[in-house]
Subunit: 475 residues, 2 copies
């Protein structure tokens, strides 16, 4: 063997020198090798599933500002230290705090039927005895607007039921189209005299779970209670409304609490050459209170943490620092992302990229990216290496994710991990968002894909920042 190799030594080295120049033009040869090795890690088990299991078992639900949130912040720092990350810290974030209470609803006429409902995050409660009123169905916000033009009193004294169904991708109005019903339905209906709002769950499952999510009031506007109703019960309401008048009693014990604090949790794998330059691997640590936040966004936290750990294990560190950021308050205000961008404003020009993983547990498909066009050849070269994972799909544009989007005005290159999310909206924001829904092999591929792409950006000769302006497209 040795003799044979020696005889080939000269021609072989010539070959090795020539191939990278042709095949890896946009990526330095050593970067390319490291990226390929990281991508290959996605084919076998990583520790990603362990992180989401530990987070959901040891902490569980962690709504912003709650005891669970505080436990998660401690948990996150302990884990990042356990994994050998450096500069592990919690950066405080002021947050509004809200508490769920009793929540029941029932049709009281024409027939008595309990409804599965859940208060929308931020909603005011009802009086203890509840609000009983006739229900008026509106297909959408636009339908409400039309209806009050025709009859200004159409919703006065009534409960407005926003009925539009959320369809799986490609089958009709999806999550993005219907979220405004949830976030602004109460704000839009209140000024016309509505006494409460019921929103068909902005979720794609027909299981009888109500999907929560945040709602907002206009400053100075009326604040009426708002709840989501399960798809099964929304169907019932529609059938009953098709027969005639329907009266519903809604009881919500939810309430805002005094403002509190949460924190972004940070930890780093220091870069070998330019440790002051940073690639952020982000996900959000907070969750809704109904489930254990496994899919939303325990999965993302696990992907980001494991991606950083895989990079730390690489034979050679990338030039720049990998910074894991587990963001606070994504679900109920986005204060964590804003706080990070503010606190690190001076440092943002040295951010080579900010990634976010907040699309659940599905298999990785690739990345959205928003950076200078000069980055495209390098990204395409990385994407080729992600093809074995099925994660080669690049989509130009987008804002990366709610938590990294506040870095857009500074021109930071933003990356969103794209995943198969065909079942994501079945469980997210419900009591059913629990660890058993996690797909370990998809987390492995996602962590490897993020590690590979992040390594490349942390190792390229220069930062490809965009001109500083807001990114406006959706992911």
């Amino acid at each position: 063997m040795t003799k044979h190799v020696r005889r080939l030594a000269l021609p072989l080295s010539a070959l090795l020198l020539s191939i990278p120049i042709r095949a890896d033009g946009p990526l330095p040869v050593d970067t390319r090798a490291a990226v390929g090795a990281l991508a290959a890690r996605g084919a076998s088990p990583t520790r990603a599933v362990e992180w989401v299991r530990r987070l959901t078992d040891e902490v569980g639900a962690r709504p912003s500002g709650s005891p669970g949130d505080r436990a998660a912040i401690a948990w996150g720092q302990a884990l990042l230290r356990e994994l050998g990350f450096v500069r592990v810290r919690a950066e405080e974030v002021p947050v509004s705090v809200w508490e769920r209470g009793v929540e029941t609803a029932e049709v009281v006429a024409p027939f008595r039927q309990p409804l599965v409902v859940t208060a929308l995050g931020g909603s005011v409660g009802t009086p203890a005895e509840g609000i009983a009123a006739s229900v008026v169905r509106m297909e959408s916000l636009e339908a409400l607007e039309e209806a009050v033009k025709a009859d200004p009193d159409v919703v006065r004294g009534r409960i407005v039921f926003f009925a539009r169904r959320t369809m799986k991708a490609g089958q009709g109005p999806g999550y993005g189209a219907n979220v405004p019903m949830r976030t602004t339905g109460a704000a839009k209906a209140g000024p016309h005299g509505a006494v409460a709002v019921l929103v068909r769950s902005v979720g794609t499952s027909r299981s009888r779970f109500a999907h929560t999510g945040s709602t907002r009031y206009e400053a100075g506007g009326p604040r009426i209670p708002a709840a989501a109703v399960s798809n099964a019960d929304a169907d019932l309401l529609e059938r009953l409304l098709a027969r005639g008048p329907v009266t519903v009693r809604l009881v919500l014990g939810c309430r805002p609490l005094p403002d509190g604090t949460s924190a972004n949790v940070l930890g780093e794998v220091r870069g070998r050459e330019r440790p002051d330059e940073v690639v952020v691997l982000g996900a959000h640590l907070d969750s809704w209170d109904l489930g254990t936040g496994a899919v939303d966004d325990g999965a993302g936290c696990a992907i980001a943490i494991e991606a950083a750990r895989l990079i730390a294990e690489a034979p050679r560190r990338p030039r720049r620092t990998i910074r894991v950021v587990l963001f606070a308050n994504e679900e109920s205000g986005g204060a964590g992302g804003r706080a990070y961008a503010e606190r690190h404003a001076a440092e943002l020009p040295k951010h080579a990229a900010a990634f976010e993983a907040d699309s659940g547990t599905g298999t990785p498909l690739g990345f959205s990216w928003n950076a200078a066009g000069t980055l495209e050849p390098a990204l395409a070269a990385v994407a080729e290496l992600l093809r074995p994972l099925g994660a080669e799909g690049l989509r130009k544009g987008g804002y990366g994710g709610v938590d990294v989007a506040p870095m857009a005005p500074a021109g930071v290159p933003l990356f969103g991990l794209r995943q198969d999310s065909s079942t994501y909206f079945d469980v997210h924001h419900t009591a059913d968002d629990t660890f058993d829904k996690i797909e370990p092999a998809s987390l492995d591929r996602s962590a490897a894909a993020m590690a590979a792409m992040a390594y490349a950006l942390a190792d390229l000769p220069r930062i490809h920042a965009r001109p500083a302006e807001p990114a406006t497209e959706g992911r």
Copy 2:
């Protein structure tokens, strides 16, 4: 055309007379024609879906002895009268009554985690402050028996968690294998000093619903609270127990109420020749309280009612009377089926068949049957006519169903409608058993299959009763 037909008249009628004798030997030719026409009704929409929609929308949950149960009894009689059935009546059935109350549980150590639980029907409650105790895992009733042999104090003062998972058909221990954990777990654990029982939901869904179902205590034995825990939370308990000791607090407000009354609802399509001879089309009208009893057993009620209605619409009535029986109390004691067999004991020798539909909303596969072997050729002939519906599968044996089984000792031929039940145990006994789960086309096929088979049995020259002895095999 006319001329042509006339020329063929004699040979054609000879042909018509000869074919039935060869092809339809076990079925009289006119019976065969009627059966075939009924089977063909399953290929297009029937009104079956309307009956289950109306029952679930207008009544909803109807646990035995509850106001919902009373509403269902009134609803059933009104519908059978509306459809022109005769001798419509409610036959009173004494039942035990039980009420669900608050039901919460949480892991309090090593971490605080709420658990989704639901009291088992018939369970006693806990003190208002609940029962907090360490949890001991038992895979099954058999494992408990072994464990207390080895250590008589192994469950003393503890909450016993019966952990065995219910698998889909053919994948492992199924519903039938695990029901005893639910019905007798508390009775078996109580005498060894257990303070409560948690049973992994005897259901096949991984959605976070707890599956209720009845539990029974031994006369004179200790009565400890018993609840089902959702599969997702059972998984959590298993993971936490694998780490070390686990303490759970269980709060159940359920309680038995004074005995009450329910009723079997009957209505008939009178036979043309022997109206005193009867074919029963049965299903159970009661449901658990958590959902609206759409799949269990609104679907069966709809199938039985629609099958009778299709027969009533046939050009010629069958010889015998078709009697729809909507049974009381199937879920929590089976008093309705027993009461029917007792009240109609003198009439049972004139029962040509008793059918039950209690397997949900799936497509029909055929029938189990338990009658004299002399019936087999006729059944096989009917089965051939059911082939276009996919309902040709005959399985000898079984007891028809919980409600018709009490007629077994009298030798009444018993028939169970066999259906695809691959998703049945996902939703049954949960809050998720709602109308949106109904598959209308499957109900159509099921109603037509039952109508066709029932017509045949109501029209055959004689009754093929079994020797009077209990049927013991499963369906």
